[in-house]
Amino acid sequence: MQKFITFRGLVAPLDRVNVDTDQIIPKQFLKSIFRTGYGVHLFDEWRYLDEGYPGQDVSRRSLNPDFVLNQPRYQGASILISRDNFGCGSSREHAPWALQEYGFKVIMAPSFADIFYNNCFKNGLLPIILPAEVIASLLVQAVQTPDYHLEVDLQAQCVRDDRGQSWSFEVDDFRRHCLLQGLDDIGLTLQRAEAIRSFESRHRQRAPWVFNAIDRL
């Protein structure tokens, strides 16, 4: 996993509540067996006027001019701001894959759905929770200020704008550490293999039925 470097990025507003993962990446793209290829289909149903399908030549599709991310001023945005309950719905990890491949590194919202929030960290995408009033004012700024940029400092856990205003955010230490170091969760957990084995043998004593063979299948 890539280390999360403190960075400055162009901000795009997505002023909606309950942006669900079906919207972030519609289900027809979940048929892929690969980890990449989702960025061009991010928000597919909002972004294009025609119906998308996997493997198509997206350069020939007509863009929906009304969709915010299609406006020229937001091209190259790497910070997305949205409303409450972002990422609700299906647990598909394709949602953070698509956001990241599109170019987003940070999503800010007053609240996130649990599974989505968790999935972001596994993929080097930083979800930042800020109070609803702060989000509301950032959404206004992102619309009113041309070329609106924010700086995100994960080490210091704060977001700054170019006028020197800043807002701090909470993120738990382990997740922050993994993002900063680019650490692989599985490798870390396997360092605890002894502890897992010893738990497993105690568990087997207490609940042997959990370990019954299912080879009869």
Partner: protein, 471 residues
Amino acid sequence: MAAQTLYDKLWQDHLVEERDDGSALIYVDRQLLHEVTSPQAFEGLKLAGRQPWRREANVATPDHNVPTDSEQRQHGVAGIIDATSRLQVQTLDENCREFSIPEFSINDARQGIVHVIGPEQGLTLPGMTVVCGDSHTATIGALACLAHGIGTSEVEHVLATQCLIQKKSRNMQVRVEGQLGPGVSAKDMILAIIAHLGTAGGTGYAIEFAGSAVQALSMEGRMTLCNMAIEAGARVGMVAVDDTTLEYVRTRPYAPQGAQWEAAVAYWRTLHSDEDAHFDAVVRLDAQSIAPQVSWGTSPEMVLPIHATLPDPAQTDAVRAAAWRRAYEYMGLRPGMKVSDIPVDRVFIGSCTNSRIEDLRAAAAVIRGRRVAASVKQALVVPGSGQVKRQAEAEGLDAIFTAAGFEWRLPGCSMCLAMNADRLGAGEHCASTSNRNFEGRQGQGGRTHLVSPAMAAAAALAGHFVDVREF
């Protein structure tokens, strides 16, 4: 020891170790796999040269994009016309073979929707930690399992380590007391709960459903209830073990036998919240006050009782009003309209929410001897598993459905998320027993209305929503 909730107990019994940052390593007893969220996990495993920690902790089945028509199904995987779907199902088969993971493949008699077959086969037993790369894993909490959805990276993590890194959720109890009225089901109960809590009301919580109305539900009803905990924002929904649970588990093919059964029951009997356990939040609902529900918008909280009229955005706060206006536009509806005036173009009875035998019985009881309205283009019944399908056929339910003009299909997720050929056309309204009414969920431009099986059946006959109690 301090009084514990059911969730606390399940957590404690699977805690490998606490970590310094307050997260924990939690042992996973059972992982269910399907074709959509597993290929990248297996790929990751192979790239890292890792093997599954305990291969028999895993069981796989293809469900999301299997065709449900017999023409395609009779040729097995090779018969899947859509090439990307076919490749995904083939990839699951290959991965299971390569890693020796048990699989109910496409035409196995036990194939079905993961969350339906886990409990049905006894592969998910009370007290287990159960995960699956699918948010509706919460369904299985009905058996007092700690069951929830995970992302693909976590699927790989569980395959490789048999553990998950987790932060403990807070405890919420949703108590429903009293008796549900006739014609009102677990689906109406959960829709009413979501309307009450909001789609983010349960975020950060593990919900335990309790109270006399919950205890009175069958296991299947409890599964419907827990299934949609995620639509209230909670990843976990649970119901304590009682006699109903044990009776259900007893006859399952993979239930423990003999002395092991006795030992298991002794442990399972402890799986309930202690009398004075502390909940961080308690929500109470009165069962009598719940009428049959219909969702009108594009979020599962946009739900109303059948006799209501659609709400006016001018009567709510600005953020919600904006969401309502967008929903009205997408759904092609107007404030002030009666729920019962919403027309129905297609009907879908199925999904992990409502595709078990009792759901099909409830729908068939309404339909028996009547006909689907001429204005309805298609009405589908998709049983949740091969076993449900056989049982329904043995009871003659398939004949009731087909005589009424319903199509009787083969098991899978089908029109719940339209990854196969079963889908809505743009602008079509669907009475659906599934769990999500998001934009495009059942097909681009499609308009989903979430209802119970009995309400879907009644809507199919009437051509619009009706109160099944008066029907």
